[in-house]
Symmetry: C5
Subunit: 88 residues, 5 copies
Amino acid sequence: MIYGRVRGTVVSTIQHPGLKGLKLLVVDKLDPHGKRTGASLIAVDAAQAGVGDHVLVLDEGTGARQILGNPSLPIRSIVVGIVDEVRL
Amino acid sequence: MIYGRVRGTVVSTIQHPGLKGLKLLVVDKLDPHGKRTGASLIAVDAAQAGVGDHVLVLDEGTGARQILGNPSLPIRSIVVGIVDEVRL
Amino acid sequence: MIYGRVRGTVVSTIQHPGLKGLKLLVVDKLDPHGKRTGASLIAVDAAQAGVGDHVLVLDEGTGARQILGNPSLPIRSIVVGIVDEVRL
Amino acid sequence: MIYGRVRGTVVSTIQHPGLKGLKLLVVDKLDPHGKRTGASLIAVDAAQAGVGDHVLVLDEGTGARQILGNPSLPIRSIVVGIVDEVRL
Amino acid sequence: MIYGRVRGTVVSTIQHPGLKGLKLLVVDKLDPHGKRTGASLIAVDAAQAGVGDHVLVLDEGTGARQILGNPSLPIRSIVVGIVDEVRL
């Protein structure tokens, strides 16, 4: 799974019906020290995450669909937890 | 999922029957500021996207096949939404 | 999916029975302008592609197995179409 | 699969119920000589691994869920073994 | 799939029961000319490959489990063939 930080939200007017009502977040990938790696992805929010939150992202469709309880959703990446601390 | 911009279309005369009639797009991957990262991919269009549109791409076969309602399509990447704005 | 160009073929004498009779191609990944990105992969041919052909590669096991009609083949990457033109 | 070294643990107070009770590790990816490549990931521990241990990580959801005996867990990466030595 | 060369073996004393008895190989990824790309992975051997052999690696869990005839193995990468020659 991926350690990241929520950077913003995605606003989309035309999208697949299965995505309606889902909150889409832009997440920057972080290294273990919390520094941005330069890569980012778009993930559905399943953890009430806000901008600036450090999060755990699952990047796999089957698991993402199971979390939302809908086996036919067109999603792959989902924020499944808020990370409070990384102990190194 | 991936944030990208439609750069063009792919013209193919010989292709797998399952791909017939599908519109194939070349999509440049973007960073959160809308700047190209240098990477690109080919995706099936499921959002009536045009060249220049900022889009949301699902890069996972199971979800892509479910969107098109055909569990045996040989596809993996699909444009599922038009992105109007990324709020950072 | 991936845009690429066939660079050569792979000759293998010892391989899994499920791969017998399949043509294995070395495919260079291309950017939208048809320039090599430096990366490459090995893919099964399902489009009668020859060396030099620009092709569309599906890089996902489930779809690849469905194309060949055998749910137990040990493959992941498959050439599904010949690309005639990329319109930018 | 991935060769890595456990660098630390992730502390998370808000997370998906399916992740409760699982130990989340930060794992640095290593090259065959045991040198860090610069990349890292977060994985569930299934091998009683501790910080500093060299480990084998499976980065695939279906297998990860089977190890934990729960087909609906929202996980993808899991530490499945302790690596004692890499013989080159 | 991936073209690579076997670089060594992985010795592991504590590992998931499903991995017992499997030979784990360190495989360097190669470019079409047989030159190392700098990346490597760990794969289960299903082709009686030895150190120095050029091999074809399938990097997908479903196919890897089918080869070994066990749908619950925690593996993703598997050496499925010995490559004799890459004709460019």
